[in-house]
């Protein structure tokens, strides 16, 4: 019963936050002229010619709170407007760009979390030894790296010096042609997964080669957070009574670390992984721009420089929803793993 209460409370908070996000978006929207705002209501390219009609229909010259509800209604009807940078409706563009971004996240997140946990616990176990100093310095340098510059340097070395070993963009030309041809069935629109499902290994490896540099860039910058949390929670766990008890009973040191300390130290990492996801979307904007990987981030970055308001608003809304949902999942997971949280 308690658990159900907890879930309901979190869901109510979710509604508050989502309303807040839409109000921020609307406040941003009201900084633009009516004609610019009208583009947020367009459904297809033919409507571009009669902006004045749209301004009148949607009451863009009416008081601001009236406009808010009109706009909210449009959002609930799934009308997010017209994105001028890619000449499609925002919803179409979103569906088009989403798979590439999910693919990048799918490959980066496990690397960030697993390597982060590994390095963090290594650093805690060998505290104040050279390996600890090394990983800590690595983390702080990674945290200070400008993502956009690091990606470019990687390109200079692995694309330039090693003659196209790890190229930018999503696929090489021949693979792209094959993927677009009729004998390749797009199940998920994610190149690596579709290639495996179609049994075309060469496309899989081609897509993988294009993923290496973006994944490295995202990982190096994001890993510091996981490492730091893992290190401190591991240190705390290693000082606990049950670890000492296990040692006193004669359990092997490695077993104690793996089964007693590390398992309990993992809990805070679960919390951070929600934050990680949100931070990663910011990193994705930069990473996709550098490597010219046509995903959501690439689209949003171009939209921001070309005053494509509906696309930018979509970015804010999507990230708000994503953050709230991942945090909800994390909280539920947390409550599930740690009974102390849900009984409070």
């Amino acid at each position: 019963m308690n658990f159900l209460n907890y879930v309901i409370r979190r869901l109510l908070l979710l509604i508050v936050v989502l309303f807040g996000v839409t109000i921020i978006i609307f406040a941003l929207l009201s900084l633009f002229s009516p004609a610019q705002r009208a583009s947020a209501f367009i459904r297809d390219i033919k409507q571009l010619s009669d902006l004045n009609d749209i301004i009148r229909t949607y009451g863009l010259d009416k008081p601001i709170y009236v406009q808010y509800f009109v706009w909210l209604k449009q959002i609930f009807h799934g009308n997010f407007g017209w994105s001028t940078t890619v000449s499609r409706t925002v919803l179409e563009a979103f569906k088009f760009f989403l798979p590439n971004t999910i693919e990048l996240a799918l490959f980066s997140a496990p690397v960030i979390i697993l390597v982060g946990i590994w390095l963090g616990s290594l650093s805690a176990v060998y505290r104040d030894k050279p390996i600890d100093h090394f990983t800590r310095i690595l983390a702080i340098v990674g945290w200070s790296l400008p993502t956009f510059w690091f990606g470019l340097v990687l390109l200079m070395i692995f694309y330039g010096y090693f003659k196209g070993l790890f190229p930018p963009e999503v696929l090489s030309l021949e693979a792209q042609n094959f993927v677009n041809s009729a004998n390749f069935i797009r199940y998920t629109h994610m190149n690596t997964i579709d290639a495996l499902l179609n049994g075309k290994l060469w496309i899989f490896f081609d897509a993988l080669r294009h993923l290496v540099l973006p994944v490295i860039t995202l990982t190096v910058v994001q890993i510091a957070l996981v490492m730091r949390i893992m290190r401190s929670s591991m240190l705390e766990a290693m000082g606990k009574g049950y670890v000492l008890t296990a040692r006193a009973k004669g359990a092997n040191w490695k077993t104690v670390i793996k089964k007693h300390a590390r398992k309990n130290a993992l809990i805070p990492v679960i919390t951070v992984s929600g934050w990680l996801f949100a931070g990663m979307m910011g990193g994705v904007v930069i990473t996709e721009t550098i490597f010219n990987r046509k995903g959501l981030g690439w689209w949003w970055a171009r939209a921001a420089t070309q005053l494509d308001i509906p696309a930018v608003l979509m970015a804010v809304l999507f990230n708000g929803v994503l953050f709230v949902l991942t945090n909800l999942i994390v909280d539920l997971l947390y409550a599930y793993v740690d009974p102390r949280v849900r009984l409070k």
Binding site: P146, W149, Y159, M281
Partner: protein, 312 residues
């Protein structure tokens, strides 16, 4: 306190607990190699910023942030006696750009974090001290702001305000204050129940005086450490926004923009893949070291002041 002993001014650390505390922290600070490294890096950048007019005399004295360039040739030129770091695309002098870019970086860091500190501390202490409905409303607003990634929200705000370096700074202030408000609120919430605050209230001190004289001096440390870490990360985010093309007009001394100018010259012509290495590497290293310096400093300060980590 100070007093004269054998005709010498002596700092007596035994007398006042706050001075004792300060001396202890200072000793830890100079013993830690990371904090000394961080401080030295920042100090070098500070010198570069102060002596910028000597190191790179401006061509237009009333517009020192405009990078001089000779012609508009697209292809970068390698380092030479005339251009120590070479020139980037359109012949902007890289040396001049990074030197004056240091001033830009300090301005962004101090302006953004300074404003955030003032707003965050004021809002946070009001929220924590008065509690009730005000607290509830402010904290929900904080929740909403913190549910959006910094870069994406800042990007949206700059789009709305229009592209410029000043608007990047404004957007970072709008995005940055909530975490400070939340941190300060947490400390104020515990401190307002302390005996010394109750005593001050019983003596009839005003709310204003209680907050600024009794509560804030005890609550400010975690926020100051956060601020020193944030100077680096705010400069980094500002550089990223500049890189995306949301910053100052072309030719302004700004590190992020200089990396962005280098984008078409990452890979050299066939046979000489690393020909244009200096174009992207040099401005990037300036950003890296600047941010690293602040992060090392902030990290060390956190270790020193964090009561959980320090052991006497």
């Amino acid at each position: 306190m100070f007093f004269i002993k054998k005709r010498r001014i002596v700092l007596d650390f035994e007398e006042h607990p706050r001075l004792k505390e300060f001396s202890f922290s200072f000793k830890r600070f100079i013993k830690n190699p990371l904090s000394v490294t961080g401080f030295s890096i920042i100090f070098i950048f500070f010198l570069i910023a102060v002596f910028a007019p000597v190191l790179a005399p401006p061509k237009w004295p009333h517009e020192p942030f405009r990078i001089p360039h000779q012609g508009f040739a697209m292809i970068p030129k390698p380092p030479s006696p005339e251009h120590p770091f070479g020139t980037t695309t359109k012949q902007y002098d890289i040396f001049y750009g990074v030197i004056w870019g240091t001033r830009t970086a300090f301005r962004i860091g101090f302006m953004v974090v300074g404003s955030i500190l003032i707003i965050g501390v004021t809002v946070g202490s009001i929220s924590g001290y008065f509690g009730g409905v005000i607290d509830e409303i402010i904290m929900r607003i904080v929740d909403i702001f913190m549910s959006l990634p910094t870069l994406i929200l800042a990007m949206a705000i700059v789009t709305a305000l229009g592209r410029s370096l000043d608007n990047i700074m404004k957007s970072l202030i709008i995005v940055g204050w909530p975490i400070y408000a939340r941190t300060i609120r947490g400390s104020v919430l515990t401190l307002r129940e302390e005996d010394f605050v109750k005593a001050a209230r019983a003596l009839g001190a005003s709310h204003f005086k209680i907050i600024f004289k009794h509560i804030l001096p005890n609550a400010i440390y975690p926020v100051l450490i956060l601020a020193s870490l944030d100077i680096g990360s705010m400069v980094l985010t500002a550089a990223a926004l500049s890189f995306l093309g949301l910053g100052a007009p072309e030719g302004y001394a700004d590190w992020g923009q200089m990396v962005s100018l280098a984008r078409n010259y990452i890979v050299g012509p066939p046979g000489q893949p690393l020909l244009y290495w200096y174009v992207v590497t040099i401005p990037g290293l300036f950003i890296l070291f600047f941010v690293l310096g602040w992060n090392l400093l902030g990290d060390a300060l956190r270790d020193i002041f964090d009561p959980k980590q320090r052991r006497r």
